[in-house]
């Protein structure tokens, strides 16, 4: 568990795989298990990570229960779809966000490309 970013990612992985909302204590256990280092995380660290994720909108907190329980706001697949939509997709201003290696071409153009390379 190196950086805060990696800890956030590990936390989301646990929440995405969990079938029910988890408390900070549950998460700490799962993270320590997944980390495999045997080193215990402090509950305050887990709470910090959770509140950061909540602020970013990735996690929702149920304040009714004691202790508070957390769940992923959106599934992993939906987030992945959002990401890939920006990368591949039709978002009109996407190249302001990222510079992609190659755009996509149609089947016939792909065929022309292969010919171009084959003559070499």
């Amino acid at each position: 568990m190196a950086t805060l970013g990696e800890l956030e990612r590990a936390t989301m992985d646990v929440l995405w795989d969990a079938h029910e909302p988890l408390s900070a204590g549950d998460l700490r256990e799962a993270l320590s298990r997944a980390g495999g280092t045997g080193k215990e995380l402090a509950v305050t660290t887990v709470l910090t990570v959770l509140s950061r994720l909540e602020n970013k909108g990735f996690v929702t907190r149920d304040r009714e229960s004691r202790p508070h329980v957390y769940r992923a706001a959106t599934s992993r697949a939906e987030h992945m779809a959002e990401l890939m939509h920006e990368v591949l997709g039709s978002a009109p201003d996407r190249d302001a966000v990222l510079a992609r290696f190659v755009g996509q071409v149609s089947a016939s153009e792909a065929e022309q490309l292969r010919k171009l390379l084959a003559t070499d």
């Binding site: 510079a99 992609r100 290696f101 190659v102 755009g103 089947a107």
Partner: protein, 316 residues
């Protein structure tokens, strides 16, 4: 100042319409993407300068013979609340136009910048959660997706290169090195800033070739520049294969959920892929040095021309 205004207006019209159309069709740009990019930037800058300058110098005619003096007189007139006797309606209209156009261009630039940073930071968060760092390559992350994609995400604190699992599967080590070198070049050469400026330019003046053609052309040129940087590290053929493989491989990935692919953007991007591969395979030599110097000089002259016209004492 009428002569100055007319010259600037003529330049503005030339740069807004015929010049970009001719340059967008030119083929020498593939042989010298660096100076071609410089020329596009000069056209955009000189175009904006001459548009605003023409309106400004025409509108300031009643206030004096030189720009600076006329501006001072203009503000004095505003303070007094009275126009000089020679001022007519058209001149005041031109002055308002100059101010509005200037504000419009700057606002568009600012808004495009803010929007892009916001999207980029959201994208960065998603990538952070959905991708794993690549231990042997710092600053590179692997996205668990079957579609073969590679891109870079510029920005603070450090830029990120994102490769997908599908890409690692598709390319061999050497081809992968080409892709990474290409993406790194985008970041190092700050291509995102150039693209951003031209995006703002287009959103400000969507109907003019100076903006629309420019944005498309600049998009292709930065790809060629990044290719040229990658060619220093890998063989031309390896890079060409990597480009062609990634571009044509999208056909075979059907695992991803409905993503609007190859509509709209397809035509421009397909043409650019073809041009990129062709220049790698045909091994065309770069534009001769004198020609490149000439293009560079033309770019400098384009920006210097309207600037001098605006600052210099007028001759009429």
């Amino acid at each position: 100042m009428l002569l100055t205004a007319s010259l600037l207006a003529a330049l503005a019209v030339a740069l807004a319409w015929p010049v970009p159309i001719v340059l967008a069709r030119a083929t020498w740009t593939s042989a010298a993407p660096g100076v071609a990019l410089l020329l596009w930037q000069a056209i955009a800058l000189a175009g904006g300068l001459s548009m605003i300058g023409a309106l400004l110098t025409y509108g300031l005619i009643p206030f004096g013979d030189r720009l600076i003096g006329a501006l001072v007189a203009f503000f004095a007139a505003i303070a007094e609340g009275a126009l000089p006797s020679g001022a007519n309606f058209f001149q005041m209209f031109a002055l308002s136009g100059a101010v509005l156009l200037g504000v419009h261009l700057l606002l568009n630039l600012a808004m495009t910048f803010v929007r892009a940073s916001r999207q980029r930071s959201r994208h960065r968060q998603l990538v952070g959660l959905l991708s794993a760092p690549m231990p042997e390559r710092p600053g590179t992350r692997i996205l668990d997706s079957a579609a073969p994609v590679a891109y870079c995400l510029p920005g603070a604190p450090r830029s990120m290169t994102v490769l997908s699992a599908g890409l690692l599967e598709l390319l061999d080590d050497e081809q992968l090195r080409a892709v990474v070198a290409h993406e790194r070049a985008h970041v190092n050469q700050r291509h995102h800033l150039v693209l951003l400026a031209f995006r703002a330019w287009r959103s400000a003046l969507p109907w003019f070739p100076i903006a629309s053609r420019a944005q498309d052309a600049v998009g292709v040129l930065v790809e060629m520049l990044a290719d040229d940087r990658a060619r220093r590290e890998v063989d031309d053929d390896v890079l060409a294969q990597a480009v062609a493989l990634v571009a044509s491989a999208d056909d075979r990935t059907d695992g991803e959920p409905a993503i609007g692919r190859r509509d709209g953007i397809a035509a421009a991007s397909a043409a650019s892929v073809g041009r990129r591969v062709a220049r790698l395979v045909e091994r065309r030599s770069p534009l001769a040095l004198p020609a490149r110097i000439a293009v560079g000089a033309a770019a400098v002259a384009l920006v210097a021309g309207p600037t001098v016209l605006l600052i210099l004492p007028t001759f009429d």
